[in-house]
Amino acid sequence: MSSTLSSPLSPVVSLSNVHKSFGALKVLDGVSFDVGVGEVAAIIGQSGSGKSTALRCINALETIQQGTIQVCGHAIHDPALDRRALRRDVGIVFQSYNLFPHLTVEQNIMLAPTCVKALSKGEARDLAREVLSHVGLEAKADQYPEQLSGGQQQRVAIARSLAMRPKLMLFDEVTSALDPQLTGEVLKVMETLAREGMTMILVTHEMAFARKVASKVVYMHQGRVWETGTGAMLDDPQTPELRAFIGNGL
């Protein structure tokens, strides 16, 4: 499946005029963008511009005050949203990995398939081996998270999400806690996923990665989508804010 820039018929994710405040603090101020099937969208922007909040809204971890969000056919803004059904379609990976410390790598991965999809232990174990080999960590199945490097833990977290066979993957600054070498191994896994056609939205500070892998770049500033385009937009910013941001970021 190839990444496409043309607007697909029904986007996997569609935000329309989304407003979100924490008390008096307006964090999202009319955000709209679409992500089509197989697309890789990179959200970039200064700290505090609302990137994580946008991602969390997409996954129904925050409630919005205004606007609509459609994700894989689920109306996130609808109070009657079936969260469990949404969870089957969307995986998310956080900056802090959030592996379960008392479970082995394999048990971390097997938990959701057995609990949510009622897979047998055997099926789940096979699945765990499969997704672990996908991220290059078959050998670590019986280790505990604390025995792994940060980069390895993050790859396990990605594998844990993949085991649920999501249609959409969200990544929130998944390499920010890692040194450059470990960052590289995690980005490689994400690049593979992108090449295989996974629809992905990633919040990132890795401009080179965004330019290379993303089919769509969304630059957020002060809670708004300030500029959006392809990776090439980073070489030719239209707004002074993006120009300044790239100037600082590189």
């Binding site: 996954n59 971890l61 469990r84 969870r87 089957r88 969307v90 995986g91 998310i92 956080f94 802090s96 959030n98 592996l99 379960f100 410390p101 008392h102 479970l103 082995t104 938990l111 959701a112 609990c115 949510v116 505990y144 604390e146 025995q147 844990r160 999400s161 649920m164």
Partner: protein, 227 residues
Amino acid sequence: MSYQFDFAALLPYWPEFAMGMWLTLQLSAVATVLGFVVGTLCAIGRADGPPAVKWAVAAYVEIIRNTPLLVQIFLVYFGIATLGVHVSANMAAVAALVVNVGAYTSEIVRAGLESVHKAQLEAADCLGLSRAQTYWHVILRPAVERVYPALTSQYVLLMLASSITSQISAEELTAVANRVQSDTFRSFETYIVVGLLYLLLSFVVRVAFWLFGMGVFARRRKLGTAL
């Protein structure tokens, strides 16, 4: 000081001491298991329940922590009798101990629950786990592992405190001691022996908890580090 110790006078009573120890262990074991269940449910109710449940648990905990165990035992014993239900002294003793240790357990487990990072719950939620599945697989085991030493101390204390159920004539170790010393008039020797037997029981309980912990907390067994 010319007190003549005479432990030999107690020898004929060894089967009674043994029975008393056995009953003390049984009372404590049942009260520990039920008290853990009650206390854990209360802790979850207080952390995550509707306001009425939170208030009820808070009131229960405060009442138990601020009244003497002996009074609680009498209240349960005579309370059950007033309801017209006939139960043995041993059953009433277990009920009273459960009510008591359940309150202390809920406070300890609550600290454990609070030690589990919110991000863990979010990760479980995002994987699609239900609330109950999250509690069972993600929250409870690390929570209990972190407060396991405190729980162990609490249940050793429970075993020692069970001696007070002799007051409603539950036939545990202290009740046996009371009877033996009035038969033999060897009070000092009797309580020296009983003290040593309680020491032995404490040791047994601690070893049992250690073994159980090693069985349940696989990560700790393998890595030997605190969670």
